[in-house]
């Protein structure tokens, strides 16, 4: 009999749903890391109509290299009321948030918990910009790259930009258009780091950070937290939640050394993660399958490469894709409707969780004046760690 059940269990696909989500205001925040995390956690708990007692597993995502708490998981976990439940602390550079969500998802899939919370929190504004740049530059391989050549994080993406411009004729103006779109959406999002619209001229005239990326091509250094509560299908039934389901999950990674990559006009980790996610959800036409997507636009060139690597357009046509308005509201696939990393903000570990927050709000039609029209009731999140050092692609549906 037991053998029969074990055999049967293999074929039961237990779905995992998002049942509550919260997000703090992003930006320069005068609160501690634990206070910041609690803003997102309390919103998520309230959203799911749960209390701390209902949560069986807590995952704390934090890169944590810029804040005064170097090992912040227990501090965050205690303050949020989860002492005794986890915390599992995860780190995957700028994809830490997705790593946290994936860990919570996995714990439910594995039957370890029925309800788990994934928290992504980052305090980046406690150190000066030069220090922050030196820490970000260590997101690749310190010894062989930053140590010799001062490869800052913007520099890694800037090298992709020069390769993309040379091969496909992508222009600084096309890159600027992604920043303009991001600011236009963020202006309507009260939680965004920036709430000001900008023009292409503003981007092109802004201070050079690392050629060809200028200040307004770069996501800001800021603070923020986001939290999502995940539940098993069993818990969904018991509690009567209105979930947004994970339809599939894709992930991949790549070399730490940029010099070991095959090329610089895209991110292989994105292509691999997307392929895995599309296969899992049986998606053959990415452009005609989603109501929206959140893509990892830490720099403007990153969004252009993401369109291509996710299969929304052909390689090399990302510049045209933004120019034609395909990624805007009313376009074929609205991208980064809440303002993206570029303008909503990019507090590293908060980002991946905030992407799930965004598609959760959109698919539940709770996005207010940023609501997209729903046809497919399906959305995609794309979160990159480092320069394609990690990548997660989630497909969620309702």
């Amino acid at each position: 009999m037991r053998k029969f059940f074990n055999f049967f269990a293999v074929f039961i696909v237990m779905r995992v749903g998002v049942v509550g989500a919260g997000c703090s205001k992003f930006g320069q925040r005068d609160v501690t890391i634990q206070e910041l995390a609690f803003e997102a956690v309390s919103e998520a708990l309230k959203d799911a109509q749960l209390s701390q007692e209902d949560i069986e597993m807590s995952v704390v995502g934090c890169v944590g290299t810029r804040g005064y708490e170097l090992m912040p998981a227990v501090v965050v976990n205690e303050y949020c009321g989860f002492a005794g439940k986890g915390p599992i602390r995860v780190e995957a550079a700028c994809a830490t948030g997705s790593a946290a969500v994936y860990t919570a998802y996995s714990s439910i899939k594995a039957g370890i918990a029925d309800i788990a919370i994934a928290i992504g929190v980052e305090k980046m504004s406690e150190v000066d910009t030069a220090t922050s740049a030196a820490i970000g530059g260590r997101a690749g391989n310190y010894l062989w790259e930053f140590h010799f050549y001062g490869t800052t994080f913007p520099a890694y993406y800037a090298m992709h930009a020069t390769a993309h411009m040379a091969k496909f004729g992508t222009t600084e103006k096309q890159m600027a258009l992604t920043a303009v779109k991001a600011h236009r959406n963020a202006a309507k999002n009260p939680k965004a780091h920036f709430q000001k619209e900008i023009s292409v001229e503003d981007v092109l005239k802004s201070r050079m950070i690392t050629y060809p990326l200028k200040l307004y091509d770069c996501s800001p250094i800021g603070d923020g937290a986001s939290a999502v509560i995940l539940a098993s299908e069993k818990a969904v039934k018991e509690h009567g939640f209105d979930p947004v389901w994970f339809e599939s999950v894709g992930y991949s990674s790549d070399t730490s050394n940029m010099s070991m990559r095959e090329g610089y006009v895209g991110l292989k980790a994105t292509r691999m993660a997307a392929e895995m996610a599309y296969k899992g959800a049986k998606i053959t036409e990415p452009l005609n399958s989603f109501d929206l997507a959140t893509v990892h636009d830490c720099f403007t060139i990153a969004e252009i490469m993401a369109y291509e690597d996710l299969g929304f357009c052909k390689k090399g046509e990302g510049g045209k894709f933004i120019e034609n308005g395909e990624s805007d509201f009313g376009g074929k696939i609205p991208v980064n409707t809440f303002g993206g990393l570029k303008a909503k903000g990019h507090p590293l570990a908060a980002t991946g969780v905030a992407m799930v927050y965004e598609v959760f709000k959109q698919l539940r039609e709770e996005a207010g004046n940023l609501q997209v029209d729903l046809k497919h009731y399906r959305a995609l999140t794309h979160n990159v760690g480092g320069t394609g050092h990690f990548c997660w692609v989630f497909i969620l549906g309702r």
Partner: protein, 130 residues
């Protein structure tokens, strides 16, 4: 109200025993990669291949092609001594090499490499146009 943390300063002692040939090579004007009999080449070099065998040292030389570059204007901590610097990745056959250049290189340019100290006294790879 803001409270200042206690100061914490970190400078790491990094063991490069296994790749000493590379570090000494820079001072002799040579840039080494490693190759394995299984067919893999490594740059940056590593003393053991993922297949488990010990790799052999080989010099990177000849002409390379610029794959991508940038000029860093926003200077990170640790590089305060530097004016804006140009980082280049160039392919040399089966490996790609990162370096600095004082010349205005473009993607596709042909380059050769040499080694020299930067202003902070660190030996590194530099590129010049052919």
């Amino acid at each position: 109200m803001i409270v200042e943390s206690r100061e914490l300063r970190m400078k790491h002692r990094i063991p490069v025993v296994k790749t000493e040939r590379f570090w000494k090579g820079l001072e002799e004007g040579k840039v080494f990669k490693t190759v394995c009999k299984c067919g893999k080449s490594y740059y940056p070099p590593r003393a053991e291949c993922v297949c488990g065998a010990t790799t052999e040292w080989a010099e990177v030389s000849g002409e390379g092609i610029v794959e991508c570059f940038t000029v860093v204007h926003s200077i990170p901590a640790g590089y305060e001594w530097s004016k804006p610097y140009r980082i280049v990745i160039a392919s040399f056959g089966d490996v790609r090499v990162m370096g600095w250049s004082n010349e205005e290189l473009k993607v596709g340019d042909r380059v050769t490499l040499y080694t020299a100290k930067d202003e902070s006294g660190v030996w590194k790879v530099w590129f010049k146009k052919v």
